[in-house]
């Protein structure tokens, strides 16, 4: 198995490590860096539990090789707080009861982060399509949608 040295900006910190060419980004995060907030829920890129941001775009990290992230920036749930303050999405998921078992939550929040960046003032329908690559088995999505709406409002106010 050939090895490669990768340098990746992870949540603002530069990490350089040697990895196998086949190592998936999700395993790199979870097992090499012990950042276990990113979860694995399937083996077909269907569930979205492993969603992270790569150069600001949401990707399913079970379908990205670590070497593909070389020279890029990766943001995970662990990087969402800033200066000890929760991101509005984290706050809203709590306030709107947008999580139950919590397993899909990091992926949902990461997906919603990019979604709100592209569409800061979405309709409910747009949110539902926006998170349709992320599965939740507990909440029936009702309160996840509300949480994203609520976060959008907060973020709009912050901008204004």
């Amino acid at each position: 198995m050939s090895k490669h040295t990768v340098t990746i900006d992870i949540n603002g910190t530069t990490v350089t490590k040697e990895v196998d060419s086949r190592m998936l980004l999700v395993h790199f995060l979870r097992e090499e860096l012990q950042m276990t907030g990113t979860h694995i829920g399937c083996d077909t890129s269907s569930c979205g539990a492993c969603t992270v941001l790569m150069d600001g775009r949401s990707v399913k990290s079970c379908t990205v090789y670590t070497v593909q992230a070389n020279g890029r920036s990766v943001k995970t749930i662990e990087g969402m707080e800033s200066g000890g303050a929760l991101h509005p999405l984290q706050e809203s998921f709590h306030e709107e009861h947008g999580l139950q078992c919590g397993f899909c939550t990091p992926g949902m929040i990461m997906r919603a982060t990019e979604f709100l960046e592209k569409n800061p003032n979405p309709s409910e329908e747009e949110i539902r399509w926006g998170i349709s690559g992320n599965l939740c088995r507990c909440t029936g999505y009702v309160n996840i949608v509300k949480a994203i709406q609520n976060a959008a409002e907060k973020m709009q106010k912050e901008v204004a």
Binding site: H39, T44, S46, G102, F103, I109, E124
Partner: protein, 789 residues
């Protein structure tokens, strides 16, 4: 119920307290099984059978063992040396841990590889060479019952057929007599297909055996850690694992829904590997393995008959079920109830005579029979009765709401003795249905339907007025492997008036850390924010049977109240000592004892807690704590009425769920926010089997959709906007008047959806459609009836 008794600061029952557990989950700091990492930990991966039924001619592990980083390849023959190749199931059947000669279903475990990391383990799985001799699989219980069918379990002495058991309840002859003399009889064959709970976290464990201490610690995805500890002690006692040296830790769990109750072979192999190798071993299954090999739900073929008189009064119910259990009965039912609580099938109706029987068969499919978010086969029972009531309404030309109202058990008839032996605790079925009809505008919808039909448009309205049976259960009838189905709470009040409470249950997303704290806050007056709730560690938590079948609030929730009462009993003595009055002179109100007629003389629970450690009466033990093991006097019977409106596209058969109103009654409500969340989720897990989910097998027993690309879980797009509300009819025998709620919607929703679709097509002569009702099925029906656009 009126408003909360406690202040928002105390946060007792009835407050929308935000969840305590969220703090770690929203930060990605939850600790799930796969997050556990131990020094020197090895990884296990499993070789699985490509055939549904085959002889194993040979297993060659040489190539796998030659891969650097591979520590062991474990086969059935290896486990046989320790007599660990078979294990008992919870239903007193037997299940292979690893096979020595025959595989019984596709994706069955054949061998396990232990390696330095998961990549090497996966390589080694590919390198294990297994030679099979395939045999013709039996994947259909109707084929399994044919006289010339192969006997699938020749390991069972004297077994000459594939019948696992026959079960019946009710009065066969009396029921037959009513049917013979009835004005009207309707009968339908209803199939509830095999489905999978598919929690987003799969199953797995980290087994760590410490040779010096002789102690085994297992972090695992289990809904019932204490029961697992006892099972491990019983199964592996002969190899030296004794119960005090076994610690099961259920860390955070990413959804359970019944799928994390059973003991899967992977857990046992990982434990055996850790004991033999002396290093921690992690096993976490893939999604495909989870769907293909872990316990299924449902798979009931039901022949359902209802007898009534011409005026619509229901007189008798009869159901004959053929159940497909796969190659072993590895269901998770209370021991005395092989068909679970299926005998709740008379539902919300006053049906005086009933009989139900069931034959369970072995087939070459994975074992299981777990609940998929329902209390032991209640979904099957509710689907049968709620569908057949609509069939009767259609036959009599009656409105299905009106027919239900006519036959409901009336509010003044509780406690109600059902024909199949249950004592329903409380209910007000007409109120729930009326509220659902008002909310959705039932009469207007019926008028709209008439107009649309005249224009050739397809619109349907479906009702489901279900009654559940949850909270297992009273010790005289309910046990698993002989262990009575009580549950427990231990609460300790610290000197500063804060508390820690531990329970025998285990949350998988239900929010116990919040709701249990609210119960204790209600009964002790200590703010919920200051009550730490812990579950899942068998070394610290009191014994309990775990969380499934909506049993946590009915059992452990009641135990919390009872433990709080014990604490209060002692607190009263301490307060009397501090206030220098007799105990009888004291009155309790939230958070304090005060002297009758002199309310300014009082001691708060915090004063009392401090005194319990600093100034307790002479002769009294120090400390303030209590433990209670709660044995429920009866089951609880949540109920509700759901109404669904669908529009169907005649060109494509696509069903649009336009509206769905769910009225639930689970007795008194602990936390309305969490309750609504549970109902949203349950409704979505009711939608899923009604419209999307089914595990499909071909005639050779190959699973055709054993991954998330092919097994469709509803996304946010498929899921409609649920409209929910509640009525409150308290449970008369639970200390808090609560009943349990999280499964009602999974149980109630599928027949509401099926009834709506059939209603949309009823004028074409459609009487029944089996779930999942897909656009293709609808389109086929429309084409057959000449109604496709």
């Amino acid at each position: 119920m009126n408003g909360p008794k406690t202040s928002p600061e105390v946060g007792g029952i009835g407050h929308r307290v935000k969840r305590k557990e969220d703090a770690r989950f929203i930060r990605g700091q939850g600790k799930y099984t796969d997050d556990v990492v131990l020094p020197g930990m090895l990884h296990m991966d499993i070789v699985r059978s490509p055939y549904a039924y085959a002889k194993i001619k040979s297993i060659n592990t040489d190539a796998a063992m030659a891969i650097p980083g591979v520590h062991a390849v474990i086969t059935g023959d290896v486990l046989k040396q320790y007599n660990l190749h078979w294990m008992p199931t919870l239903m007193s059947d037997t299940q292979m841990v690893l096979p020595t000669d025959t595989v019984m279903y596709q994706s069955q475990e054949v061998a396990a590889v232990i390696a330095d990391d998961r990549y090497i383990a996966a390589d080694a799985v590919e390198a294990v060479e297994v030679e099979y001799e395939p045999m013709q699989a039996v994947v259909d219980p109707f084929k399994a019952m044919e006289p010339d069918a192969p006997v699938l379990r020749p390991d069972k002495e004297g077994k000459t057929d594939n019948l696992i058991w026959h079960w019946e309840t009710g009065e066969r002859e009396a029921t037959e007599k009513v049917f013979q003399n009835a004005d009207v009889v309707v009968k339908e064959n209803i199939y509830l297909p095999r489905i999978h709970v598919a929690s987003i976290e799969t199953c797995g464990c980290v087994a760590s055996f410490d040779p010096a201490e002789g102690k085994l610690t297992v972090w695992m995805t289990t809904q019932a850690p204490h029961a697992i500890r006892t099972v491990v002690a019983l199964v592996a006692g002969h190899v030296g694992l004794s119960e005090e040296k076994i610690r099961i830790i259920a860390p955070d769990i990413g959804g359970g829904f019944g799928g994390k109750v059973p003991v899967y072979p992977g857990y046992v192999i990982a434990i055996a590997a850790s004991v033999v190798i002396g290093k921690p071993v992690k096993w976490v299954e893939d999604r495909s393995e989870n769907l293909q090999a872990d316990s299924f739900a449902r798979d009931y073929h039901m022949g359902v008959e209802l007898a009534a008189n011409n005026s619509g009064k229901m007189e008798a119910l009869r159901i004959k079920t053929i159940a497909d259990y796969g190659y072993t009965d590895a269901a998770a039912n209370p021991s005395k109830y092989p068909a679970g609580m299926f005998s709740i099938c008379t539902g919300s109706y006053d049906i005086k005579t009933a009989f139900t029987e069931m034959d369970a068969y072995y087939t070459n499919k994975p074992p299981g029979g777990v609940a998929y978010r329902c209390s032991f086969r209640v979904t099957e029972a509710v689907h049968a009765i709620e569908r057949i009531v609509d069939v009767l309404a259609q036959k009599l030309g009656r409105d299905p709401a009106e027919l239900r109202m006519q036959n409901f058990i009336q509010p003044d008839e509780f406690p109600y003795q059902s024909a199949l032996g249950w004592e329903y605790d409380s209910g007000d079925y007409p109120r729930a249905l009326k509220l659902a009809m008002e909310k959705i505008g039932y009469d207007d919808l019926r008028r709209e339907q008439v107009e649309k039909r005249a224009r050739g448009e397809l619109m349907g309205i479906g009702i489901s007025s279900f009654t559940e049976i949850v909270g297992a259960g009273p010790s005289k009838d309910f046990d698993i492997l002989g262990i009575k189905m009580f549950d427990s709470c231990e609460v300790r009040i610290h000197p500063t008036g804060k508390a820690i409470a531990r329970f025998g249950t285990k949350s998988q997303g239900q929010g116990h850390e919040t709701t249990y704290a609210q119960i204790l806050a209600e009964e002790l007056g200590i703010p919920a924010a200051h009550i730490q709730v812990e579950e899942g560690d068998t070394d610290t938590a009191p014994y309990g049977l775990g969380t499934y079948a909506s049993r946590s609030t009915p059992t452990a929730g009641a135990a919390a109240a009872k433990a709080a009462y014990k604490v209060r009993d002692k607190a009263r003595k301490i307060a009397a000592h501090l206030l220098e009055v007799s105990e009888e002179d004291l009155e309790w109100e939230v958070g304090k004892f005060y002297v009758k007629g002199s309310p300014e003389q009082s001691k708060t629970i915090q004063d009392i807690a401090f005194a319990a450690y600093t100034n307790h009466p002479e002769g009294m033990e120090a400390g303030l704590e209590a433990t209670h093991y709660y044995d429920p006097p009866n089951m609880t019977f949540p109920f509700g009425s759901y109404i669904c409106v669908v529009d169907i596209d005649r060109k494509t058969g696509v069903i649009n769920v336009r509206r769905f109103v769910a009225i639930d009654d689970c007795g008194n409500i602990i936390n309305p926010m969490i309750l609504e969340g549970q109902i949203h989720g349950g409704l979505t897990q009711g939608l899923a089997p009604a419209m999307y989910e089914e595990l499909i097998y071909d005639e050779q027993g190959n699973i055709l959709n054993g991954n998330f690309m092919d097994y469709l879980l509803p996304t946010a797009v498929e899921t409609p906007k649920w409209e929910t509300d509640q009525t409150v009819t308290p449970c008369p025998h639970h200390p808090l008047g609560a009943k349990g709620v999280a499964e009602s919607p999974t149980v109630g929703a599928p027949p509401a959806i099926a009834n709506a679709v059939v209603d949309a097509l009823s004028h074409l002569g459609v009487v029944n459609m089996d779930i999942p009702i897909t656009p293709f099925k609808v389109w086929q029906v429309l084409k057959e009836k000449g109604a496709a656009a």
